[in-house]
Symmetry: C2
Subunit: 286 residues, 2 copies
C-alpha cells in the first residue's frame, strides 16, 4: 500500500525559506523535479506571491515561534535559505513569543556582520532539529558546472585571465572583500567590494565609454568565486540575466564561474542571452 515510501529511507522533509524574487521558485521547482516535496516559507513583504503554488506558510520576520511551529507541524528536517532578504533592524521586528524566548540570542546575532548573523541563524535552526542545506545541494542544475555552458568558449588568453582572476580573489579572501573582478590580458580592470557586481560592471562600461580603457573589440573576463572557507549553505555567489547584460554592456569576452560554487539564477536565460551577446559563460575548477 505504501510501497514507494517503504522502498528506502524516507526523504527528509524540505523547507525553503524564500527571499525576494523568482529564484526561490526556481529552486523549489528543481527540488520537486528531483522528487522532493518542498514546503515554502514566505516572508511577508519579501517573497513572491507565486510561492502559494506550493504548500506554504507566510511569516513576518520576527515571528520565530510561528515559523518553528509550522516547520515542526510539517515534519521539516531540512531547510534552505534562498534569495536575498534585506537585513532588518532589530527594532523593526515584530517579535512573537517564540522570538521573545530567544530574544537575548537574537539581539546578540544582530550585533554581528551579515555573515555572523547567518551563521547564528543556521545554528538556531540546527538546534531545533532542522539541518540547513544550500540551494546547490537541492538544485544542482542551477550551479555552474566545469567547462563552457553555451555556444562560446574561452580562448587561451581568457584562460590566463581566469586563472589570474581566481588567484586574485583567493588573495582577497581573508579580507572578506569582493567575490568578483574583471581581468583583461593580465590587467585588473575592476575589483568588487561593497558596490556589488552590477555596479562594478557598469564602471567597466563607463571606463570604456570615456576612453579610460581602450581596446579593439571586446576584452576582459568577469571572474566570480566564493571566498575561501565561505559557507555555501548560507551565502553563495550568484549570477543572473542582469549580470550577463552588464557583462555585455562592459564589452567583456565572457563570464567565468567557480564550478560547483556559483549559482545561476534563470540559467537557461543566462546562457541564451550570453550566446546572443557573443559572451562565453564557463565554469572553472576552483
Amino acid at each position: 500500500m505504501n510501497g514507494a515510501g517503504l522502498a528506502g529511507a524516507p526523504a527528509a522533509r524540505l523547507a525553503i525559506l524564500c527571499g525576494a524574487g523568482a529564484f526561490p521558485l526556481e529552486v523549489a521547482a528543481d527540488a520537486r523535479r528531483a522528487g522532493r516535496d518542498p514546503f515554502l516559507v514566505g516572508l511577508v513583504g519579501s517573497s513572491d506571491a507565486a510561492i502559494e503554488a506550493y504548500p506554504h506558510v507566510w511569516v513576518r520576520i520576527g515571528e520565530v515561534g510561528k515559523l518553528f511551529a509550522a516547520l515542526k507541524g510539517r515534519g521539516v528536517t531540512e531547510l534552505a535559505m534562498v534569495g536575498a532578504v534585506t537585513r532588518p533592524e532589530l527594532s523593526d521586528l515584530r517579535l512573537d513569543w517564540g522570538a521573545i524566548r530567544r530574544a537575548g540570542e537574537l539581539a546578540q546575532l544582530f550585533r554581528r556582520g551579515d555573515n555572523g548573523l547567518l551563521v547564528g541563524l543556521a545554528a538556531i535552526f540546527e538546534r531545533e532539529g532542522v539541518r540547513v542545506v544550500g540551494a546547490h545541494e537541492i538544485a544542482p542544475r542551477l550551479v555552474a558546472p566545469e567547462g563552457p555552458l553555451g555556444a562560446h568558449a574561452p580562448g587561451a588568453e581568457d584562460d590566463g585571465d581566469i586563472a589570474f582572476g581566481a588567484r586574485l580573489l583567493g588573495a582577497l579572501s581573508e579580507f572578506d572583500a569582493g567575490q568578483c573582478a574583471v581581468v583583461a590580458a593580465g590587467r585588473v580592470l575592476a575589483i568588487e567590494a561593497a558596490e556589488g557586481t552590477d555596479a562594478m560592471l557598469a564602471r567597466v562600461a563607463e571606463m570604456r565609454s570615456v576612453g579610460r580603457l581602450k581596446s579593439r573589440g571586446p576584452s576582459g573576463v568577469l571572474v566570480k568565486a566564493p571566498k575561501r572557507g565561505q559557507d555555501l549553505r548560507l551565502d553563495m555567489p550568484a549570477i543572473g540575466p542582469g549580470t550577463v547584460a552588464g557583462a555585455a554592456r562592459a564589452s567583456l569576452r565572457g563570464i567565468a564561474l567557480a564550478a560547483g560554487a556559483v549559482l545561476m539564477v534563470e540559467r537557461e536565460r543566462c546562457v541564451g542571452d550570453a550566446d546572443a551577446a557573443g559572451l562565453f559563460i564557463a565554469g572553472f575548477a576552483p
Copy 2:
C-alpha cells in the same frame, strides 16, 4: 675665486621632465629651495607654460635626439620625471634622428605595459649617463611623513582600519592592481583598480547617497600605498586637493598614506582643506 664650488663635490646638475599640471613646478621650487638649479624639460602639449620661469627647453614627445642634446649641453647628470603624461601611441610620435637611431628599442618599449615603458625609458637615460631620481629624493617636503599632518589625528579604530587596508594593498601588490582602498570598521568598502582614486571615492559617496552604505556620521579611511617593489623614481602614488575633496564627499574620517612613499601635490592646501573638512591626513609606517 671659485671657493664655493670647490668646497665639496659639485652638485649633480638636475633636470625635471615635466608632465601636466603644477606639480612639476612645486618640485622645481623645492629643489631650488634645497640649493639646486633645476633645468626643466617641457613636453609640448602637456607641460604648464609656467616652466619658462626656469632654465628650460621644450621638446615634443619623440624628439629624443633634441632632448639628449639639451641634457648634454647643460651637463645634466640627474633627471626626475614628474607629473602625468598621457601615454602616446607609437604611431603619433614625431620621431627625430635621435629617436630613429633608437627606433628598435623604442618600439620594444611600446609593447610593454606602463610600468615596463617607464623602466625602459629610465634604462635609456641611465645609459646616456643621466641618473633617474624620484621627486621624493629632490623634494622630500612633498612626501608624506609619519604621523598626523594637520589638526585631526586617527583614533584607535582608524588605526585598525589603516593596518587592515595596508595589509590588503600588500596582498594586492603581486596583481599590479590598485594603490588604494577604503576601509570602514574592518569592512572593505572599495578597492581601486583601473578607475583611479577619484572615481573610487565618488563610488563611496554614491553608495552612501543611495543608502547602500549606512553610518551615523563620517566613517572609513582612504588608505594609499605603493605596490611592494614599486620603483618610486618612476611611478609614485600621489594625492592632491582633489583627493581631499573626494574623501570629504565620501564622508570618510581621513586619509592614510604610506610614509615616505606617497607624494602630496599642493601639500599645504591638502592639509588646510582636510582640516576644514574635519578629515585627518596621516602617514603610517609602511
